[in-house]
Symmetry: C2
Subunit: 139 residues, 2 copies
DNA sequence: GTAACTGCAAAATATTTGCATCCTT
DNA sequence: AAGGATGCAAATATTTTGCAGTTAC
């Protein structure tokens, strides 16, 4: 299994404190993180700007991917091994819990194909599902 | 067919310049609009703040719905007739053109159901498809 | 040693809030 | 006339940029 450092060096990135620690956060949470989440969870260890730049770098390299949201923020989550720089293959469904507000990658649930109207050509797709997660089930 | 004023009064909203004009914008474009789009397309006729508040009001009343994006912005599009205040039923696929960047509501393409892992309960879902629209076909 | 990364300061941008005034009903 | 909507000013919050100092290799 790849270590944090492997992931960084494999992508031609030098191993620094902020990168290691932010990457660790992603590895620990199997869900998605926002800039604010990361800021909160690293204490005030790193500058806001460093976090912005790290997220950008990770996205460019295909280490993390962005998850669309309706609340004017961006969520990021780890890519699986098959993502490459500039080319994401995060074709799984993302689940947002209405109770605890966590966003989870359902890595095993593939985004289904849909038939598009004549003239439209699909290149990529994303699917979001809102509801209650395993920890927040309603009875 | 409902006129602009009908839509407003039916929702208990008074008919004002900004609401009429912004609603008209939505009726004209069958796609999605951002706050910036609206600002641009109305000249400097209305205050930024008014646009924020109008979009919020329309969303609350179920006149428009939000479309998730990955670029830290919110897009809005008209709901079909069956949306009610606080309860959106915009269960269609949204298409984003990689060329012209327009977002289109594919009102006839329903978001397919997916089978979720044990313990997850779905309440709502959204699907985004990126590609080339009818006007921007690649040969 | 050198290139790349980080932190700080500041600029630019986006969003929210309070309040006085104006408009719709 | 009364309540709600708007515009303005200002407070917050978010994101980007430039640059000097530091760190990884």
């Amino acid at each position: 299994m790849l270590t944090k450092n492997d992931i960084l060096t494999k992508n031609g990135l030098s191993v620094t404190q902020s990168r290691t620690q932010i990457l660790e956060l992603f590895l620990k949470s199997n869900g998605a993180l926002s800039h604010a989440d990361i800021e909160r969870n690293t204490g005030a260890a790193f500058d806001r700007v460093t976090i912005y730049r790290t997220l950008q770098t990770f996205t460019d390299k295909g280490i993390i991917h962005q998850i669309p949201t309706t609340d004017n923020s961006i969520l990021y989550a780890l890519c699986r091994e098959n993502c490459e720089a500039g080319h994401h293959h995060d074709n799984h469904v993302h689940f947002i819990c209405l109770q605890c507000n966590a966003t989870t990658c359902l890595a095993d649930v593939t985004v289904p194909d849909v038939r598009l109207p004549k003239g439209f050509v699909a290149r990529q797709s994303a699917m979001l599902v809102w509801g209650f997660c395993e920890n927040c089930k309603q009875e």
